[in-house]
Amino acid sequence: MSIKILPLVLGAAMGVAATAAHATTLEDVKAKGFIQCGVSQGLPGFSNPDAEGTWSGIDVDFCKAMAAAVFGDGSAVKFTPLSAKERFTALSSGEIDVLSRNTTWTMTRDTQLGLNFAGVNYYDGQGFMVRKDLGVTSALEMSGASVCTNTGTTTELNVADYFRANNMPYEIVAFEKADEVVQAYDAGRCDVYTTDASGLYAQRLKLTNPGDHMVLPEIISKEPLGPVVRQGDDEWFNIAKWTLNVMINAEELGVTMANVDDMKSSDNPSIKRLLGVEGAYGEPIGLSNDFGYSIVKAVGNYGESFDANVGPDTPLGIARGVNALWSQGGFLYAPPVR
């Protein structure tokens, strides 16, 4: 008996030893044939599963775009729903390859957690939601309020800072999952629900009477949300960064999911470079040269993804605002492909 177990035990020990020498993320991803993408546990517009378990949202589109860049196939991606608390550990332990989960880019996270932010795919800020019938018009009237939010987010810190700075007493009720926050707020446990403004619009849809609630005008923080990869793998970092840049550039150049095939024969050199007709921009980062074409073909440009998931025609009804292109008064400005 012992003799039979022995090779197994030794084998296991070798296995542990072998993991010390890591392959790059791109090699790992290519070997397994899909990207493992960390998303939220259900935030409409950003990453939300439907009744059949199909994920959609702008964070989901980013992962599909990455899969299109690597495999030329936007469906070569699997999703792992993560709580705010689990997300960074899941990424640094290698359980997921990329985290695309409405995650705020902060200095601590960028420098101390072994993570790299690949850019910003949604400029957000923290807001407050209250019942309309309370007659409150400003966040400065919230002295003495009970505030519901999620644990382990920057939200918890911002709200503490805000109430402290304005010298208002408050009571924080922090839940692990967003669904419980919504239920508790709906039941009246809290006067105020606070999270990123986009999240407030999304969660409002889950309330019994969405129309009875309003988001206050004050935005109390900067919340640049973006995809995250592990630090120390520049190749994968570049792929994530340029997937996002390609989506933004495609919108600027007017390349859409519908016209991308025609655009291949465009005379505009910028479009030619973007779609890989001219030059070799994909191979140096381990992709094929037409990775830009694959991305737009699979998920469309940034504007299309925004409009389809969170834009004015969706239940969330969020205007482009600061998330418009730089040329249209927003913040989105991607470095050129050249």
Binding site: V9, K85, T151, G152, Y170
Partner: protein, 405 residues
Amino acid sequence: MSSETQDAAVKPARASLMNDPQVRGLFYQVLLVLVLVFLGWQIVSNTMANLERQNIASGFGFMENTAGFGIIQALVDYSETSSYGQALLVGFFNTLLVAVIGIFLATIIGFVVGIARLSNNWVISKIAYCYIELVRNIPLLLQIFFWYFAVLRAVPGKRDKWSFLFDTFHLNIAGLRGPKPVFEPGSGAIGYAVIAAIIGMVVLSRWARKRQEATGRQFPVFWSSLGLLIGLPMLAYLLTGMPMHFDLPIFNETGPVFSRGFELGTGFNVIPEFLALTLALAIYTASFIAEIVRAGIQAVSHGQTEAASALGIRPGHTLRLVVIPQAMRVIIPPLTSQYLNLTKNSSLAVAIAFPDLVSVGGTVLNQTGQAIEIIGIWMAVYLSLSLLTSSFMNWYNQRMALVER
């Protein structure tokens, strides 16, 4: 044995060392230990190497940094400017509070239901049976949600209240509020009076037992103990000039909308998260304790009860003096497991926003990224709590064990 030695003497040809069962056994044991040590070393060194490669800081230095987040219930001093270490301490005490109160309630409910289950009264016995079967077969997390969300929706909103007990206690969605005792300087005497009363109770019960053994006369130990426990502190309170008052919760009917209702920080407040969690844990664990109690009582031979009634002992006394002391020997070991379960299950607090160790630790983990350290703290705390509980219960079990005379 003899035939082997004879064979060896006749044929001194040496068998392989590996055929010696003792040597072989030793060899595999040493090998197993070596492999385990190697695996452990690999895990540790791999983790260290990976952390370093990913530029993740390690160590417990982060405990000194400012936490920056608020906690709804703190038994020790805490504010947003306190350190992460202090925040974890707050979480630890909250866990401890839930565990202690939960165990206390679960034990009482469990014993009552367990005895009721064996009652000759058909209705009482069936009610206990339904309680046990219903509660222990539904997952605990669902029960916690039930108590939290069902109860939340049943009570009045924040700007409203239910008052009871002569308007001293109030219940609304923000919790159960009541008067908070505030101790002024000089109130130490009351504390000493409580200690004196407890010592007095112990002395009294020993004296009463000795007297009963010697003369057979009984003494009302319970009522006189209760008198001591209430009377002595009251006396100290009056003699020292009443150095204690009650801080009543302030209820604002007017003012800005968020300031209406109970003013934050006035009076004594039990938050609904705590109520729901403790209630759910106590009720769930009590259903298991009830079955343990029933098993313990049924393990006592029926002859004992019959002998007691043959001696003319009343049923109540038979239960208290004959059956339960013997049943305790069967009850205590599995009861310990239930206490440990309750303590560990309290970590489900995170689902309903009660700031226990896991909830606060999770926030700290997310903000500092020190996953290994925080998980280490979690494991160490739950392990020590469990070991403490079980060593106390083992001591109690030894005391209750059958003493052979």
